[in-house]
Each structure stands twice: as structure tokens, then as C-alpha cells.
Amino acid sequence: MPVETAVPAGYIRVFGKPKALSDVKYTYCPGCHHGIVTRLVAEAIDELGILERTVGIAPVGCAVFLDRFMNCDFVQAAHGRACAVATGIKRARPELVVFTYQGDGDLAAIGTAETIHAANRGENITVIFVNNGIYGMTGGEMAPTTLPGQRTTTTPWGRDPRLHGYPLKISEMLAQLDGPTYITRQAVFDYPHIVRARQAILKAFRNQLEGKGFSLVEILSTCPTNWRMSPQEAGRWVAEHVTKHYPLGDLKDVR
């Protein structure tokens, strides 16, 4: 278990590393939003005091090492299967707090069926969906969420909807279902949005603690490496372009 660094006399703690985060260094690229999102999840676990009963599901993708970054129990899932694995854990031990942390390739391509059906059953789990519109770890290939015209290593002339289809609005799809409780889309490209995303993640965990059912927080994120942009440019790209295709805000909220 992590040891909290002692605060010297005369000082007060205003900021520190969440207990839910380990001392292992992130393997995320510099400027990638994963680092912020992972920290927000850790802060939510700390704030709710649930570290000792939380089980995370690590995905295939850039967050594949999530089990090393965090201090709770973890299960590593096959690509796209996180929501099915989470279902198995939560049904076996409902007293646990179970969350998945998935990218857009994982959740919205190879794991579409698992995601939709877990949501439709109203599984009492929390899903953190990091949408950066690309397959980051495998080298920047087109994802179902890639924007029209966006260049990737598998759409070298840009995504042509007539050839490659349109960006998949999975959160809008899920919000049409009767099963889910809370579906929201957030971003972390500046401080005000980080604060809102933090509140959304907290709410998604609190819903599970209250037995309210399936909650999903989509977070529009950057992939500076594969977008071939600086972190600043990538953040601006999300603010100015990505949010036009994927509007921010709550898509479903059953109170």
C-alpha cells in the first residue's frame, strides 16, 4: 500500500499524488490526455474511499499497463472484451466496484457488441471511454471514431466516408437504449473541462455505489504522436474540430 509523504510542520497539503496511483511511471506519450484521465479516475477512487474494493479492467491499447499505474486489483482483458469481463466480476461479487478503461478501437470497434449489451443490460459498472479517434499503440491506424478527412496510417489520403464509413457516435447510440443510467461526453483540453470531466467520472462511480446501473464517461482525448501535432496543437484540435463532430455534454442521465 502507498505511504503518504509526511507534511512538514507549518505546511498544509494542497496537492499530491492520489493514493490510487502507484509510483510506476506512465508509459503514455508526452502530452497525451491518457495521463490526465488516469489521474482523474484515481482521484475519484480516492475521494470515494473505495480503493480497497475496486477492480479495474485494463484494456488492450495504450492503457494496457494501467494495472501497473494504479494500486487497486486489476484484470487484463482481451481486446474489446472489457465490458464482458467486468460483467463476470460484478455478477460474481456485486460488493466490488468494477470499472473498465477503454480506448475507441477497443470499445467502439472490436468490442462494440460487448459494450452495447453490457449497457443494455444496465450492468452496474463504470466505463471510462478514452476517445482519441485513432489506434495509438499499434501505430496510428484509422479507428471507427476517426474524423472525415483525417489522415491515419490506414487512410493515408484521409478518411473518406464513402469508402471507410462515418465516425461512429457510440455514446449517442448507447443513449438511445433503455438500459444505461448515465452517458456523458467530456474533454480534458483545458482546466474548466478537466474539472467537468472529474465531476462526471465521480458521478459515474457514485452511480455504481448507489446501485444505479451502467455509467459511461466518454472523454475526447489527444494522440499528439499519431496526429503528428504538438500537445498544444492537439489540444486545440480537440477544442476546435473534434467537439464539432462529438458535442460535449450529458447524453443520458437517469436521476
Binding site: M1, L51, E52, R53, T54, V55, A58, V64, D67, M70, N71, C72, D73, F74, V75, Q76, A77, A78, R81, A84, V85, A86, T87, G88, I89, K90, R91, A92, R93, E95, L96, A113, E114, I116, H117
Partner: protein, 350 residues
């Protein structure tokens, strides 16, 4: 012990519940529908979780989750469905999670049909999915034996942390026979699971994973798996012999074909032919040694299967040229009569 008349599929379900099954995940497929339906009716009443998944892929991943959480978990399906589960089974094998998978084999390849067949022997015993792994594979030839082997499957799977498979077919699944059901297991006797994800309270975190990016690390995980497999190969081969002591010809057959071959042996003996049966019960670990010993004495080792010759390869590995090893197989869900097999036996015996 209670003796009841039951279908194979239902006896397997009941035996699983009595073995402390907590979570069962499934997708409907013939010829194991009765198993799914029995679980849907009975398991929730007896404190367990029944969930019909959206796909075979999801079902096996739910098993992965429940097994990771430290409860006895199971899924069942038939050949095409088992093919879909292979990804999940590979992860379960490397993550060292105990669970039971039932395959009521049907005719293949492809959509095939729903008649009895044994075409999944390779898939079950040689890995099935990606990577170097094995399942403990148990092949019942009667309904009572199916019930007995379900209990054994859970126990062996827990003991070695290796997934176990019951490999049968629609003949075993849908036939009714009197069964002695096992007594309900004492929950206190189920081995503890200190490795399970139950919340990191009073201990360090537990991680269930099949992943190591470093070649040396992944090699260590593989060597650990292989060490367990060698131990299982030493300790767990199971088989049955019928009239083998003086036999000139040994029929090797398992499951439904093992049952038919038993009748063949009795028919042959009535005609004064010295024929015996060697019936592997564990298909992995395959009982190589006892079959090798028989091959020292017998003149012919005849393999009969509902396949084009899959177990036949293991038989030849066991016999290693000590005796001729002819083969007779039927395909497509056609089940040969004892009389037909006897004709085959007579080609080599007497």
C-alpha cells in the same frame, strides 16, 4: 447418493450446481440446449448467477471475469460456439484461472450439423486457441460418467489452476440414463483463491493477466505453465480397460464411440475373438504409458472415432510402431453400428 433418470445435458448441469458452481454464462446452441435451460431454471434458485450472453465470445469472457473474482464458473456450448470461445480460453489458460467448459460436439467443419461427432479432438487437446497451452479434457461415455467427470473437472481445474473441458456430443447430452448424482460439495472444501480479485484490503493488489511485454518475463510465465502441464501428465491420466488382459486386438475409442466399442468387444468375445477395449477418459493428458504397455502384448491396435483420425495421432504416438495401428472413422454425424465396427475388427482379428 440419489439415483434419478436424467438427460446427459441436465445431469451435467445438476452435477455442476452440486459442485459449487456460482456463475454460469452461455449462448444458445444445439445440441446442448437442455443444459442452458436447466441452468436458467435451477441456478438462480440455488444462489448462483445465470446469464445469457450476447455471444459466445462474451460468455467466455464473463467466465474469465467470474473466475478472476474467485468463484467456480462455467460455460457450455457446441463445436462452432467453442471455436468462437478460443480467444477467451487462451487468455484464461495463461492467466491461470480455473473454470469448466462443456463442449457437446456436433458435426463439422463449418455449420456442419447437430449430429454426434468427434471432430473437435485436436481443438480440445492440442490447444485450440493461440499460444502454447493445454486444457484438462475429460470425455464421458455415459450419462452417469458425465456427472462424475463434471465434479472431477472442477476439482482438477482448481487444483492446477488450468481450465478443464468436458468433451462429449449430442448422443451423451440428449440420452437419458439412471444417474447417481454427486453429493453437494461443502463450500468450505473448495480450495481458497488468494490470487483472486476481491479488493486489495489488507494485502497488496492482485492482478490477473496473461501479458508480459518482456520476452524473458513471458518465457517465465510459459515455463511455469509447462511445469504444471508436466505435473498433470504425471498425475492425472485416466482410462478404462475392458477385456484387455488376453486381447490380441485392442480397440481404442472414447466417449460415444467408446460406448459402442464396449458392445463390439462383447459381441467379439461371443465369437471367441480375443478383443479388448482401451478407453481414454482423460484425452489430455492422454494415457500414453498404459496404451504403450498394451501395444507390447497386442497384435493390433485399432482406433475407431467419429472423425477422420484425430485421436489416432495420439494412439500412434503411444504405440510407436510396436504394433500395426489401423483406423476406422465415420464423418458428418453418422454413428456406425456395433455390427459395422465388428466387421472392421474381423479384418484384423481371428
Amino acid at each position: 447418493m440419489s439415483r434419478v433418470l436424467m438427460r446427459g445435458n441436465e445431469a451435467i448441469a445438476e452435477a455442476a450446481i452440486r459442485s459449487g458452481l456460482k456463475c454460469y454464462f452461455c449462448y444458445p446452441i444445439t445440441p446442448q440446449g437442455e443444459l442452458v435451460e436447466y441452468m436458467a431454471r435451477e441456478l438462480p434458485k440455488r444462489g448462483g448467477v445465470f446469464l445469457q450472453a450476447e455471444s459466445e465470445v462474451a460468455a467466455i469472457n464473463m467466465v474469465y471475469g467470474a473466475a478472476a473474482a474467485g468463484v467456480r464458473a462455467m460455460t457450455s456450448s457446441s463445436s462452432p460456439g467453442i471455436s468462437l470461445k478460443q480467444e477467451g480460453i487462451s487468455y484464461i489458460a495463461m492467466a491461470r484461472l480455473p473454470c469448466v467448459i462443456v463442449n457437446m460436439m456436433r458435426g463439422g467443419p463449418g455449420l456442419g450439423n447437430i449430429a454426434p461427432a468427434q471432430g473437435d479432438y485436436f481443438q480440445a487437446t492440442k490447444g485450440g486457441g493461440h499460444g502454447d497451452y493445454r486444457l484438462i479434457v475429460l470425455a464421458p461415455s455415459t450419462v452417469p460418467e458425465a456427472a462424475e467427470l463434471v465434479r472431477l473437472a472442477f476439482d482438477l481445474s482448481d487444483k492446477y489452476r488450468v481450465p478443464a473441458m468436458i468433451l462429449a456430443d449430442g448422443m451423451i447430452g440428449q440420452m437419458m440414463e439412471p444417474v447417481e448424482l454427486p453429493e453437494p460439495v461443502d463450500p468450505g472444501k473448495i480450495p481458497p483463491r488468494p490470487w483472486a480479485v476481491t479488493g486489495a484490503r489488507g494485502r497488496g493488489k492482485n492482478v490477473i493477466s496473461s501479458f508480459d511485454l518482456e520476452p524473458e518475463g513471458l518465457r517465465e510465465m510459459n515455463l511455469a505453465l509447462q511445469a504444471i502441464y508436466r505435473e498433470i501428465e504425471r498425475n492425472e491420466p485416466r482410462w478404462e480397460e475392458v477385456e484387455t488382459r488376453d486381447a490380441d486386438l485392442i480397440v481404442v475409442a472414447y466417449g460415444t464411440m467408446g460406448r459402442i466399442a464396449r458392445s463390439v468387444v462383447h459381441m467379439a468375445r461371443k465369437e471367441k475373438l480375443r478383443v479388448g477395449l482401451f478407453r481414454p477418459i482423460t484425452l489430455w493428458p492422454f494415457p500414453y504409458e498404459p496404451l504403450r504397455e498394451l501395444a507390447e502384448r497386442a497384435e493390433v491396435i485399432l482406433t475407431v472415432e467419429l472423425s477422420a483420425g484425430q485421436m489416432w495421432e495420439d494412439v500412434r504416438l503411444a504405440v510407436e510402431g510396436r504394433a500395426p495401428t489401423p483406423f476406422f472413422g465415420e464423418l458428418g454425424g453418422v454413428v456406425p453400428s456395433p455390427k459395422r465396427i465388428l466387421e472392421e475388427v474381423k479384418k484384423y482379428a481371428g
